[in-house]
Amino acid sequence: MSDAKKIVLAEDNSTLSLLLKFRLEKEGYKLLIAVDGKEAIEMIELHDPELILTDIMMPFISGLEVISHVRNKLNKQTPIIVFSAAGQEEMVLKAFNLGANDFMGKPFSPNELVIRVKRLLR
């Protein structure tokens, strides 16, 4: 039971979170949902997930800061996938510079996301 891989998802759109939770839990992962960057960081520190999914634009602690916190303050190499709205290439570049592993532009296909998650957690 406890060997299910944990994923922290930081996303403020509740419908989307619910969708992803359903989908990923079907694949056997355990999903922890945060609605903003601060909650995400708390969850990451508490649960030490195997993967992090985060939106870039979030209330008061941005996705970029989450990445920076994980890589620099917590010194973890947890794989991170970021979501971004279209046209935010600059942000995506910064995300990669800070240590993100992959990104998906919105709108994205949930199936595609699952493929990438599996790839990073192999």
Binding site: S14, L19, G87, S109, N111
Partner: protein, 375 residues
Amino acid sequence: MIHHQIATMKSYQYIIDYFENSPIIIQVVWALSCILLIAVVILTIYLKKLRSRLRKNEKTVAEYQKEYESDLITYLYAGNEEAEISAEQQVIIDKLRSCATDEFKRRVIVSTLLRLRNEISGEMADAIQKLYFQSGLIIYALKKLKSRRWYVVVKGIRELTQLRVKEVHDKMGVFVNHPKKEIRKEVQLYLVTLFHFDGLKFLDVLQTQLSEWDQIQLLEVLQRFDEQEIPDINPWLKSKNNSVVAFALKLAKIYNQFEVKDALIDLLSHQHKKIRVDTIHVLGHLQVVEAKDILKNNFDILSQDEQIEFFKLLENLCETSDESFLLAHTTNQNFEIKLSALKIIKILAGEKFKSLKYISTDDDYIKIYEFLEYN
């Protein structure tokens, strides 16, 4: 007791006498005061009702949202391998169909669908659209299109745009030249969202102004598609409608339309200053060297904004042949031009740059030179 009643009657009588004996203006004032007092009392009582109604609405919306959210997700994952509708899905479809008859619930259902639809693509997105059709929600959107109130029409068009309903394309024609600009804007977005670059055909005949806001929205929508098949933008660059020209310039820049450079060079003599400045910017971005010489020759008759933009162009397109021109402008009055000129000289001819250190005692010049020296 009788004393009490008599006393009350006497005070009423006193008030009435007082009122009737007062000058007219005081009567008016007291009458107004009474009206205001009644208004205050009524509004006070009603306020509580209003607030609790608003609070209840919010709670209800939140509850419904959760409910419909989980219905939606269940529907999306209850499909079976064939493209048929499973029993579980049918239950949800029927439920939503009946809930949709209530306007309040319908609004929540649609907003839930939209919230998800905007974030995802692929099979899931198509499934949401199917649900939208099957539950009959689309009927209500079509009804909105027939409304007399413009903001209802706008909401209808918007809903159909977000759910990518191509089937209603023929109904949209009537709105393209609608007098109300909000409706026109919404239709433009519909056309571009669903038909990408083909949807831009309205630019050929557009008489009204496309605001910057409209342009940005259209460009945002276009950027979401990976298509490289951008149509010929020359006719738009030659349009009599300045906002269409401005939009075409943005397209030229974003999609690197080097092939329209001739039309762009023509635009350098457009009557609208902002268009000329934007054209110089695009020409610089596209690295059109011919433009450089034309502008250099006409430099003195250019407006200051154009001159500044030209120097920015030079930063990308400078050649050694420009050196004398640049030297002449290192002491130009304008700060930004001085900065550009010196910056370019430093890149082109480092030695020459060093020799310029003391040619001017102007404060700005010295500041700029020192900054460039150490950077």
